[in-house]
Symmetry: C2
Subunit: 262 residues, 2 copies
C-alpha cells in the first residue's frame, strides 16, 4: 500500500499461498495483481520483498532466487538479521543480490486486515551491510526505504540483532512473562499501565518464538543485563534503601523523558 | 472536575499549599473556591478527599481531621492502602470516619495541567473495608465513587496491596528497570513496543519510590513470582526448547487476549 501510494513501482505483484489473502490484498489496494505461483510472482520483479515469519525467509529466498533475473534484488523485512543475512549473502543464485532490511513498524496484529497505508509514517528502517553486501543493491534498497520510512539506518546485522534484542525482543519477552506471572484475580483489576506494558503479548506467539530463538544469544545477553538491574532494584527495596532506589529510578526517568513518543 | 460535571456536591473546595495551583484549578473549572488554609478547606466539608503522594496522606489526614465536623468523612486516592487504612481507621479524631479508596485511573502525568474531566470514564475504583470500617461512611464513599467511576470494587486493604503490586507496581518497576538497563545506542532505535512498555517510567520517581516502599512486602513477593517465570523462560531459551517456550508464550497470549483494552 505504501509503495503504491508513493508510486515507487510500475507494478506491485503479491504472492501468497492462499488465494483469499491475494483477493483481500487486491481489495485493500495493496497490489496490482496477485498469484500463488512463486515463479510467476518473482520472474519479472526488479525488487522482491519477503515478508514472512523469520524462519521462512531463508528457504523462501533460496527458492525465489532461482526464478529471478540476473541483476534483480531480494530483500526482506524480518525482525532478526544476522542468521538471515549470513545465509543469503553467501548462498544465493549468482546475479541475484540480497540486502537485509527491518522496518521498525507494525504492531501486535498481523494479516492484511491490519494493513495500513500509514504504517511506515514516522518510522525508522534498518538496512544491513556486511563486507559481502553488493553495493549497488544496497544503494537501491536504501533508496527504496528512504522513500517509504522517515529514516534509514545502515548497520551490520550482528549489531542490529544486539540492539533490537534490547529494545524490541526483550520488551516482548517481558510482556509475555508479566502476563504469564499474573494471577487471574489480579488481571481483573489491570489498569492502563499493565495493559500498555503487555499489549505486545497479544502478538502471535509462533512468530515470536521464531524471533527469540533466531536471536537467542543476543536476547540471553539482554536478559542478563536486565537481570542485573532487576536484582539491584530488588536489593534496594529489600533494604529499604530509598536513596539508592530513587537514584536508579530518576536516571531511568530522565532517559525515558529524552525519548520522543510516537 | 468529575464531581462538578456530575453535580455530586453543592460546593467543591480545593486545598493546596500553592496559590498558583488553586488559581489554575479554578480556571480549569475543577473547584468552586480554593484556599491554602487547611482548617478553612475542611471545616464545612461533608466529604474530604486527600489526593497527595502516599507518604503525605496519613500526616495530612491526622491534621485535617482535627478541623472536621463530627459525622464527616475522610477518604483518599492513594495507590497503596494497607499502611494508610491501618493508621487512619485507628487513630483519627473521634466522629470523623476514614474510608480508603484507590481509583484505577490516571497516567504518567501529574498536576492540574494533566487534569481531564473524562479521567474516570470507564475506570474501576477500589474502596477498602476492614472490621473497623464505619459502615455508614463506607456506603457513602462507595456511592460517591459509583457516581464517578464505571465500577466500584470493595476489598480489604491487604488484598488490594497484593493485587495492585502485581498489576500496577510491578509493571511500573519493570518499566523503570527496562529503561535503566538499556544502552543509549539502542534507545535511539526504540520502536513502539519499547515506548509503550516504558511510558510509565515518565512518572514522577518521587511518587513511585513512596509507593514501592509503602507496599514493599507485596511488591517483593510479586517480583519473586515474576522472577520465577523469567528464569523459566531463560532456561527454555538457553536450551533451545521451542516447545516449552511456545507453550509459556501461548498461555500468556491467551490470558492477554481475554483482557479488554482501554
Amino acid at each position: 500500500m505504501a509503495i503504491r501510494r508513493r508510486r515507487l513501482a510500475r507494478r506491485v505483484v503479491g504472492w501468497s499461498r492462499k488465494l483469499s489473502t491475494l483477493k483481500q490484498a487486491k481489495r485493500r489496494g495493496a497490489i496490482d495483481e496477485g498469484t500463488t505461483s512463486l515463479p510467476r510472482a518473482v520472474h519479472d520483479a526488479d525488487l522482491t520483498v519477503l515478508a514472512t515469519p523469520v524462519d521462512a525467509i531463508v528457504p523462501l529466498a533460496m527458492q525465489a532466487a532461482r526464478f529471478m533475473q540476473p541483476g534483480s534484488i531480494l530483500t526482506d523485512v524480518g525482525s532478526t538479521k544476522a542468521q538471515i543475512v549470513k545465509a543469503l549473502e553467501r548462498r544465493l543464485t549468482p546475479g541475484v543480490a540480497f540486502v537485509g532490511a527491518h522496518p521498525l513498524a507494525g504492531s501486535e496484529q498481523r494479516g492484511i486486515a491490519a494493513a495500513s497505508v500509514n504504517l511506515f509514517d514516522g518510522s525508522t528502517c534498518i538496512v544491513t551491510v556486511t563486507r559481502r553486501t553488493d553495493r549497488r543493491a544496497l544503494a537501491r534498497v536504501r533508496r527504496f526505504w528512504s522513500a517509504v520510512a522517515d529514516r534509514v539506518v545502515v548497520i551490520d546485522p550482528v549489531r542490529h540483532d544486539r540492539l533490537l534484542a534490547a529494545v524490541s525482543h526483550l520488551p516482548h519477552l517481558l510482556a509475555f512473562c508479566l502476563v504469564g506471572a499474573t494471577v487471574r484475580e489480579a488481571l481483573a483489576l489491570a489498569p492502563r499501565s499493565f495493559l500498555d506494558a503487555t499489549r505486545v503479548a497479544k502478538s502471535d506467539p509462533t512468530l515470536w518464538d521464531d524471533i527469540f530463538l533466531s536471536n537467542r544469544a543476543a536476547l540471553l545477553a539482554a536478559m542478563d543485563r536486565f537481570d542485573r538491574s532487576w536484582q539491584t532494584l530488588h536489593t534496594h527495596l529489600s533494604r529499604r534503601d530509598r536513596t539508592a532506589l530513587h537514584r536508579a529510578m530518576a536516571t531511568a526517568h530522565a532517559k525515558r523523558h529524552a525519548l520522543k513518543d510516537r
